[in-house]
Amino acid sequence: MEETKKRELMAFAVKIRMAALEAIHARGSGHVGGALSIADLLAALYGGEMNIDPRDPKKPDRDKLVCSKGHAGPAVYGALALRGYFPYDELRTLNRPGTRLPSHCDRNKTPGVDMTTGSLGQGTSLACGMALGDKLRGLDARTFLIVGDGESDEGQCWEAFAFAAAKKLDNLVVLLDWNKRQLDGWTDDVYPMGDYEAKFRAFGFDTAKVDGGDVEAIWEALERTRKGEGRPFAIILDTEKGHGVPEVAEKVMNHSLPVSDGEFERWTVRLQAELAALEG
């Protein structure tokens, strides 16, 4: 990967973090941890990997994103605002009466959101249907499906993964946000799910496991999903819940947090400095 592209994506990831925090802080609290852990992934997807057009958000042959862990909405909204799907200032309307930006992703409210999610597990089957639909219509488009590791407790996920393999959905890319934490704490304490890569392989997926905080590694793994060979893809992203904001990442219970003015200020200053270093 070219150094300039890499820096561009790294800067985009920092901006997504700032945007998500902007939205959550404006509201006072929200799902901080799980939004921050997918910022680098979203940077790679919305920073070039996905075939999309912000001026034509419903273009049929676009690549699609299902953020099945719908509570990470603020991160998705950050990426969409930065790509011009709606004004950046609108981020501050998160969860306000009548907003287009609810805490959980809603395809009927937000320009650029491809699927409604929030009830964990349901996005996985929806993504299968979307990928199958594109195939049946002969469209050359991929569906990217972000799944939480806690979310993967849901049996529906594994019904969907079996379906994807059975129906040879090689235009489906499962992106498992392996941040090792769910709402009640560490997944290994709450509900250990074992070796994801082995599980996906056993289900008939092509798999990769990458550092989910490294845009270059994510980019390279995504590149390999461009040409399907009859099997769906699963990329296990080794991530950290709260990544990019040490004060958040250090808190074990960082699923949903209040964000004070002081914290927002400190975190933003830090991210600004990172951005300046990348762009300078």
């Binding site: 306000r96 009466p97 999610t117 407790d153 049996g155 769910q182 709450v190 509900y191």
Partner: protein, 321 residues
Amino acid sequence: MTEIVYTGELDPRLCKSVLGETIPALAAEDPDVIYLDADLMSCIGTGKWAKEHPERAVNCGIAEANMIGVACGLASAGFKPIVHTFGPFASRRCFDQVFLSGGYAKNDITVIGTDPGVTATMNGGTHMPFEDVALYRTVPGATVIDVTDPACLISVLRQCVDRPGVKYIRVGRKQYARVYSDSADLPIGKAVTLREGKDVAIFAAGIMVHEALQAAKTLEAQGIQAAVVDLFTIKPLDAEAVARRAKETGAVVVAENHSRHGGLYSAVLEVLAENCPVPAACVAVEDEFGEVGPQDYLQERFGLTAGHIVSQAKAVLARKD
């Protein structure tokens, strides 16, 4: 002794804290009580206790349908499961398991669904059940409760542990207006008259009890005497009390934090239609999905305020002959 201590003030206790204390207390009293949750222990403050008592508390991960099945299996082994998750996941998400593995197979379980209706606030439409009561009412032999306040929560939870059938308790995690004294004993299936009145009967449940009492005050100032009856047990409904109050007043308003289809309004209308068809109206959610926002906004948005009750009371009075 049950005293009505309503002043309109909030009870200082958060219902999540009440759950976090009552569930361990029930487990301490009865070795057969077992608590299951789906990754939401920290939302009702049971996490610490659960860690210390792994044999009494099972975190089932985010897999609600499986959790209900496991609870039912435990019930068949003589345990008395208390199961918790958010309302939509305690109802819609696992309904067939509740219906068959629970109701039909006669495995007795207590299910607590938190943040019903508009109390789901910032979690938005996907987390805002306006239909959980409707679903649970259709399970033969089920008990369905919409909690009034912390004292009510403690009283019904204690009774549910040993009560046969599937029991569903919907309760918000935050504060409620205090209605009952601490030691309240509120027998399941018995309506409680909170206020006498001869002109119109307001039947309410859950957060709408407070709104109904406020509405009754406003109506009184306008010369209308409204009776307010707490129907925290939606099933089995106190049909006798409903019919009696309806006959006495000749006009009924039902107030619920739920869809107008299939919940308390439907339950009351079923009684009225067969016993005393008087004019009736509801303050409930129309045929709509939920949405995100603060609770006061949502109550206005979906028409669930004292003001709406006042209007409906007047409308129904106008239809009285």
